[in-house]
Symmetry: C2
């Protein structure tokens, strides 16, 4: 018997899973919650106060996951560490940090510890928007060939806006950083002593492509002369393919984890992308939807196609041999959570309590009884802007059709439907560009909690929706890549395709589109597209004007807060 361990680094905690290489059976799971969590108000130990939109983490929290969760897996199962042939990890992205040449995070060096820019910038750190705006303007002006591959807009969440923010606001830190890298690659470095750059984050977050590499120094120089050499000085032009080994477990790391030194460590990966093989998708035609607070959609294709509003298309970025397309809806579960929290009257809370269930469950039950169109409502699912296909954070939510007879379950259903219409819009954008989407596989937290959403997704997209077997797809996917990195000679697999064939269990459940409602939903989708285009493509920019009014007031009422304020 041989085993692999996958470690999934999330926003609040890390989750390690011990997996049987032969069958994919998940023998044990251990979760370690980050002591410092998401740092968005003050640096630890009453340090500097952070401005709005900041979100940092403590790199030592990641090491603590290895130190705590992996030993627990071994003790819980009694598995012999010698039988563990590999470790793989996946991470949120772009979650990045500055380090010294030997990988020491600047946040752990006393002279930099008080400086927010020395810490890990979490994926949802949104304070680099000015830098993103500058970068996008320059890229458009220069007609950069890579821009259309990213929906013609680089997000403030990604690698270069975050790096440029460090240079803009804390040049001392930028200069002290010998290396700037993804936390994904940093934790692999800590396990192996070897610095690598994985193809997934390089491609999706740092504008790398197999065909043309990184953006050229002249582009970076246009942003800031000091940024010109960022790739050569602080990154690496060697990008490691997914499924290869980054190195072997160092004796230090063996000490933390209880595993054997020399155990294979796979090249790092991203949580959403590593879920694709974990749900059995290794070929074009099937879209994987990681559905949670937001939803990430991935599909494979055999050629480079430029579909509107993708987050990115990267050759070998998800499964070697294919172009990986990523799209996203910036709020899904978050919209339902917002509604449940802010807009549901006491009677429904009372009913939930009386039945020992959740408000969501009561609303879902009532909404399930409605027929398509019966709510009389239609919504645009833009409570957190629109990622795909409009790539516009300034858009906002819309609800039309309310009457004095409208009930909470009507609105709840309209919100569920709106997210499914949003999914259909991005599928249609992909298909118009020649990327086929025949069916969907859903994973993440929502599919189990919201069966009505799953049925509506099938009905509205007109496609079968499978629910993945594993409830911890990212960790399983990381374990699968660990088995591939170990290779068949050590008891693993030759390819991720082989690993998927052996290690992925059949889908738990399939939602089939109900043909009898297709006509009503086609009509409603037509109206969704009408509103989507009217409010999203410039015919009426009321959402932007409302946003500007609101932001002007917010700005005026906040203290001037450039980056951070001494606490």
């Amino acid at each position: 018997m041989t085993y692999v361990i996958g470690v999934d680094f999330g926003t609040e905690s890390g989750r390690a899973v011990l997996v049987d290489v032969a069958t994919g059976a998940e023998l044990a799971t251990a979760i370690h919650v980050y002591a410092n969590g998401v740092i968005d108000e003050r640096l630890p130990d009453d340090g500097a106060r952070l401005a709005a939109d900041w979100a940092l983490q403590d790199p030592l929290d990641y090491i603590a996951v290895f130190q705590n969760a992996i030993p627990r897996l071994l003790s819980d199962t009694g598995v012999d560490p010698a039988a563990v042939i590999g470790v793989g990890i996946d991470f949120t992205a772009c979650t990045m940090l500055p380090t010294t040449a030997d990988g020491q995070p600047l946040a752990t060096i006393p002279e930099f510890r008080h400086e927010p820019h020395a810490w890990v910038k979490l994926w949802k750190h949104h304070a680099a928007q000015p830098e993103a705006n500058q970068l996008n303007a320059l890229a458009r002006e220069r007609g950069e060939e890579w821009l259309p591959r990213y929906g013609s807009k680089i997000s403030s969440e990604w690698f270069y806006p975050k790096s440029l923010q460090i240079l803009d606001e804390a040049p001392v830190i930028y200069r002290a950083a010998d290396r700037l890298l993804e936390a994904a690659d940093w934790v692999v470095w800590q396990l192996t002593g070897v610095e690598t750059r994985n193809a997934c984050t390089a491609g999706y977050k740092a504008i790398w492509s197999k065909a043309s590499g990184f953006p050229e120094p002249a582009f970076f120089a246009g942003l800031n002369p000091e940024l010109a050499s960022i790739v050569d000085d602080k990154m690496s032009r060697d990008v490691a393919m997914l499924g290869t080994a980054a190195g072997e477990l160092s004796s230090d790391a063996a000490g933390w984890t209880g595993l054997r030194p020399g155990t294979t460590v796979a090249v790092a990966n991203v949580d959403a992308h590593v879920s694709v093989p974990a749900v059995g998708v290794v070929e074009p035609g099937t879209m994987v939807a990681v559905m949670g607070t937001s939803t990430c959609h991935m599909v494979l294709g055999d050629q480079l196609r430029l579909a509107e509003g993708m987050c990115g298309v990267v050759e070998d970025g998800i499964i070697p041999g294919w172009f990986g397309y990523e799209a996203g809806q910036s709020a899904v579960g978050d919209i339902f959570g917002w509604f449940t929290r802010t807009s549901v009257p006491p009677e429904i809370h009372d009913r939930a309590r009386a039945r020992g269930t959740s408000v969501h469950a009561i609303l879902e039950q009532e909404a399930s009884r409605l027929r398509p169109g019966e709510s009389g409502l239609l919504a645009l699912d833009w409570w957190n802007g629109n990622r795909s296909i409009l790539v516009d954070v300034d858009l906002s939510g819309l609800l039309v059709g309310a009457t004095l007879a409208t009930r909470p379950a009507d609105i709840y259903r309209a919100l569920l439907e709106s997210t499914a219409f949003g999914t259909r819009a991005l599928i249609e954008s992909l298909e118009a560009a020649g990327v086929t989407v025949d069916r969907l596989v859903a994973c993440g937290g929502l599919p189990d909690r919201n069966p009505l959403l799953m049925q509506l997704s099938a009905d509205i997209t007109g496609r079968e929706v499978d629910v993945a077997a594993s409830s911890q797809a990212p960790a399983l996917g990381s374990a699968m890549f660990a088995a591939v990195a170990a290779g068949s000679t050590r008891g693993g697999y030759e390819s991720i395709r082989d690993a998927a064939a052996a290690m992925v269990r059949p889908h738990r459940l399939t939602y089939t589109p109900n043909a009898s409602v297709a006509g009503v939903y086609d009509a409603l989708y037509g109206d969704y597209v009408g509103l989507h285009d009217y409010f999203g493509r410039g015919a009426n920019d009321v959402m932007k004007r409302l946003r500007t009014l609101r932001t002007d007031i917010d700005d005026a009422s906040l203290a001037p807060a450039p980056g951070s304020v001494a606490g």
Copy 2:
């Protein structure tokens, strides 16, 4: 000392007020709740079941108001009945009924009592929509000159659709009805023994004008040959001017009320319209807004102007000597009530309970702290369709700008603002047609309960908003008309102008527009108009399509219910 009594017949009850003729001081108020209330499910005594949209009343409930409330006024105050020089009444409208030639309601005759069409049709009986549609189509086709005076659309609530519904669905009742008349005129008939038709309901509800009378028989014949003679056979071409005497109190009515036989009884009036002089408005330039679940707006003008979307313009219809313009917003307080009931989470209810106040008060307090534009939201106030200026019941509510940070108070404020934008739209429509609106006077239930709404109305319309002194304007207005009907020789007044000068107390409160927010509200109003025109004038009929989908489902799930179903 001389006194007058005003009686205001509302939807659920009648309210009588005893007023000092010299000063307008309201000495006592007595309310009598209708025993049978609004009959919208079954006829009394387990009678026929009513279909959706029906709303009836029992005419004897009105008589009970005289029998109960007026004696209470006299006993509560000890006023000598001989000192009461007049009685005036106002009523909801169009609230109408079929009677025999001597005024006996058909509903009180055993052979007709089981038939819903024999009962009083309350103003909010909405089941005559097919008849209204037929009437409007024919009027458009014939190019009837009167149609533009009513916003180019006759409401299903008004006199002829209701009459035609009787003929369509219960011809026996139509034929048995020697008279068809407003309940307003019917109660005056019961007090005096004299049948009159007041100019206000004739003008606003039965398409009468001083210049051209009623629609011609050929028009009615086009709807149904049997309807051709409705005016001559079942109504009257004699229309009585407001402020004149309908007759004197009969001995029967003196017996019910404790008043002296021979006491002057004024010609009937309508609750909203009679409020105009009651708040001191007897000249053009000031709009009176009766603000409650819905809002009715009235303003006087010196000429006939055709402004878009008015409910009606009637010469002498409000104050003799002027053209009375009426406009309306079909939901105002109802929208805030809907929101409070359906969309406010338990925390806010708990906070209201803890502070011993209402949810409205908590929301208002929080919403008051927001600056204009800070909510980031904009709404169309069409939760119950749009009366003025689009005259379209199929329109529905819209909210744009929601984000994950949107709170209930943000939405509450946006809803308040939306109704003020709606008021501004109808003011601008009037002014574009040449009807001046320099300031507003608000009365009804909302001004006291919702000071923020009043301030927003001033800020958004850019006009001062006075709050009327009397909290029972309709009853006071009826009392004032009673004093005019009695005339100066009996201790009353020569004209309603004189009565207003003496009997109306100064406004309690004035809300002044805040100049510093005018710019933001002009910008938001621009966006309101943009959405109003896009969704309301045919560019995107999504609201109608949603309504049709919803209605189709409702219709399919209801039993076939033509008018009524035997219970």
